[in-house]
Chain length 339, copies 4
């Protein structure tokens, strides 16, 4: 921690800040310049609140030097994390992995139709929501356990991994037999009790960035899970809220290279939720791959007009196939490949 | 719903949109102008996704006319909601109600010291966190049930109502005997499962606006709870995330008069979380009252430097007393009063 | 400047960063900890770009310690700046100064009618636009020089100072004989050529914060003008752009106490542009005064429905009088007064 | 324009709104539903302020139906605009055009070195700043006219078009003999006087999106120029301001497909200003091309460590060549090509 004192700060205030830092467990180095005094606090702790020092008399600015996360930081595993699955698929390796499927599992027929089509087009995992608490209390809320069984069955039939969202601690246990990846949605990115429980699980977790979360906060959420011993994580950009209202959210493509610099974890992108509009999904999926994404999450529905949720952002199967062909052309430009 | 077609949209596309609207349950009025065709869909449903129409061929824009909430809207109770408590305190009436106390309940001694001081200064409710899942996995996590008992005891001793945050469905039941108001934090504003359960409770709930939530979304969260039959709600502004980084969040004071226009529910303000810095709490508390807030939530600690959480934004008891004196001067300017 | 090196940074990279800092004119203090090396660069320059160091190999983070502004900083004049006018009015002193008038000067009759009414209600300055380049190329563009003459005449008649916006360097000279305060609009806050010319003028300037400008950037714009020798400045909050769309902008009330802490310059608030809606002007004006604003800019029109610009945010004269009465009640709560 | 009345609005208020609309020049269609009355105003005007109706008594919501721009809208030229130059280069056609060069022109040697290298790598235009008013009043301010002459000479020598930024009306005339494209910077996107003058010029103009500008506002700025008769425009995304602070700005890649849908104008991307960091330029340039950008603006410097401005975001020439090779691989995936 670096503490810059105000120009006018008297010696007495400087001493009080030094004492405070020492009490917090830091050893303090002092540099006195022409204009001001700067204190550097060096120590083992990372769980402090810089504001506790900011509000002391005579303090101008405080900067945290060490990142507040450790396990999620690039230096913990400089070579990068590869999340590997039993069927040979790897996220974070050379192949770009596409996870596709409907927003919600609506019926056996719907799911199997979509699963077959996305598998044929080259997807490696099947996505589908089982629990769908919606913004409006009057909307469809998901098939629950039945959906999970259908996902597993369809995944096995068409050789696809299964990913689905977990929304509460009580859902973890029932989901484990059916899914290969537990997804944490944007709204739960800072549901710390849920994250803590997921740290005890031995199954990969994909964490989506909250719509108002900084990348540092996303990494701190990853840290929460990793602190419990679960290192099989994938992060995912899905759009942030900005002043522009034409799209639902602004998909922050630059998050992809930034996470790759700050962390060793694989980074996915979700252009469906990131844009909220079918006609913007393909350009943003291509952009994500061109920027280095390790995986994509894409909503596909065989009959989006009748979809019970998010039909407007679901691709038609033929649009998905066409997109996959484009992605295959882009992958080599970034040293990657797709099946 | 209003659908504006593109200038160039052929009759065939217009017909397809009309059919779609009719299938969604709307009756359709058509206006054909020199430049374009506009369709007005009139009907009883409010749980539709405008994007389903936006993505149809030939559509330029779609506007939702009726608000997506009903029970939370001003017209449901034009005279305004007053949340009344057994001890005679009312939120939403003439008196401005101040709820104060420490961020976390840390010990009996701490809580009773602070409670006595805020009661003496004119607070009407005691706030204090029992469950504190923190951004960092390495920080203090709260005293739990023990904290709730202490809150109740201190509240009774000093004649204060008790408000504390509920973070999970499983906490509702154990909290009911101890608190007068259940608080939903900003991160849980869209935890719809939790909201649904709170709709079944017969106890007032205070809902904080999420840091990236629009006011419409805040009202939709209120709708969730009200749809369950619990109409005793208070809403609360506590800062939104903007590009300005000097404060943690930007306390959106204009949310106060806007909610008063759109809704009948009382509107509170939390200048402690809204600014994150002790020296900004008093000006923003005064501004909230001047803008018409019905209640304030303020963090006070008798020894903020030793607080286990958020000490930097907690007022010293003497600062709180001074602030209360200022608020008492401002209240009459907006036709309100304080004890 | 503080440079934190990456944990893994080899000595060779550290040396290269030290050399770079020395070349930039800094003397360098080195602290080597268990985890990483931290370099502190101390020197007289403030016109550097921290990114030049950020991109060097092995660098983790760079923090600027000294503020990039000096003349605008609180320590330059700890007692605060008071901008005093010939008629005895002072901005930044005990009295809160209200500047009111129409958005645009439309006619002699309109201006004199409004001027008389705002003077009677207690305003101290008359505002009115002479040059109105509008968002749409098809709208009213202002009366120009004629408007300035009318403003001066009305100001003299009713004992009001005159403030009007300058939009281009070429307008400064013609405006000088007619106005008491030159206003720089939000869109010109970073028009550095204009700011430089205003530094040469010996007349007070009011600078409005840009809708996407941080407070540091606002102070840097003030620095630009002060660097030319003109120290008679007033800053003004008028709303920032956020994701919330109910109001045009989000009036950032917290900017008022923050500027008072960081700078010695008086801070005004413009609730008319800050909200864009008549019914939100009064609550936000009251909130601004309660938060410590030194001055207010308020749009008033005797017939807003016929106003040629911004009628929707203009108060009726009787609303303005009522607001002034409320402000008079609030002022003493913050140790201020109004006539 | 669509006006939704409040549920409770009495007939008298509805009549007053209808009268107001008629006075504004609209013919009014009325739909009375179970819940509320909706009025549709149809007419030739597009230069109205919806807020004038929003503030009338009894009005719940107002929606503008027709876009506030006409000439810039897609329907004005459904086939798209191609900006063609004398040397055969076309922006908006099949070829993706890369414009590269230093942030500022610093010297003959610097400019010619960089120009030769970017031409060799496949750039089609040379960019370079002549006038550089900087955020800090203490920084390098550009070579002015001398820079323009050097740009022309270097452009001619290496077969490159020349693009440079115009910051004031007085610079237009002197720039015309030297540049092929006049660039309007983000800060001047709403400098309407400048835009109006550029409408009279017969030379292509590239307009950058302001950091807080919506896409609708960008199109309205284009409308300003086109209203003067200059239809040779290129738009450019260069990053918007969001809460994320890791990068200077958030490059909004989705702006590219959105502008292509809303407008016929070519859309460029500037990943250098959009990220502010050299190591993020290549991924974001690739993402822009993958999302359909017609052109790129990229800063390249032969010795960025010594650059007088923005060195941190300038690519080394070898990085630029490598990037061009990657872009050449991506272009065919979107049906485009590069030389």
């Amino acid at each position: 921690m670096i503490v810059a004192m105000q120009e006018s700060a008297p010696e007495e205030q400087i001493q009080r800040v030094i004492e405070h830092l020492v009490k917090m467990g830091f050893s303090v180095h002092r540099t006195t310049g022409v204009r001001q005094t700067v204190l550097a606090g060096v120590g083992p702790r990372s769980d402090f609140d810089v504001r506790d020092v900011e509000v002391l008399a005579g303090v101008e600015q405080v900067h945290r030097i060490s990142a507040p996360y450790k396990l999620a930081g690039r230096s913990f595993r400089p070579q990068g994390t590869v999340v590997a699955f039993a069927n040979g698929v790897k996220i974070g390796a050379e192949e770009i992995v596409v996870m596709a499927g409907p927003c919600s599992v609506e019926s056996r027929e719907q799911l199997f139709t979509v699963a077959e089509q996305v598998a044929k087009a080259g997807a490696r995992a099947l996505r589908g929501g089982a629990f769908k608490p919606r913004t409006s209390p009057y909307s469809f809320q998901g098939l629950g356990l039945e959906a999970l069984k259908l996902l597993r069955e369809a995944g096995d039939r068409f050789g696809l991994l299964v990913i689905s969202e977990v929304m509460e601690i009580s859902q973890i246990e029932p989901m484990l037999p059916y899914v290969d990846i537990l997804q944490v949605g944007a709204r739960n990115m800072q549901n710390f009790n849920l994250l803590r429980e997921l740290g005890k699980v031995r199954k990969p977790v994909l964490v989506k960035r909250g719509i108002a979360a900084t990348l540092e906060e996303l990494l701190l959420s990853a840290e929460y899970i990793m602190a419990g011993g679960n290192y099989e994580l994938i992060l995912c950009e899905r759009g942030i809220r900005t002043f522009e209202t034409y799209t639902r959210n602004t998909l922050d493509i630059s998050a992809i290279p930034i996470i790759h610099k700050l962390s060793h974890l694989p980074m996915a992108s979700d252009p469906s939720h990131g844009t909220g509009r079918r006609d913007k999904v393909a350009p943003m999926a291509r952009a994500s791959v061109a920027a280095g994404a390790d995986a994509l999450l894409i909503e596909v529905h065989h009959d989006p007009d009748k979809a019970l949720s998010d039909g407007a952002q679901s691709l038609y199967p033929e649009q998905f196939s066409e997109l996959m062909a484009q992605l295959r052309m882009i992958a080599p430009a970034v040293g990657r490949r797709m099946v």
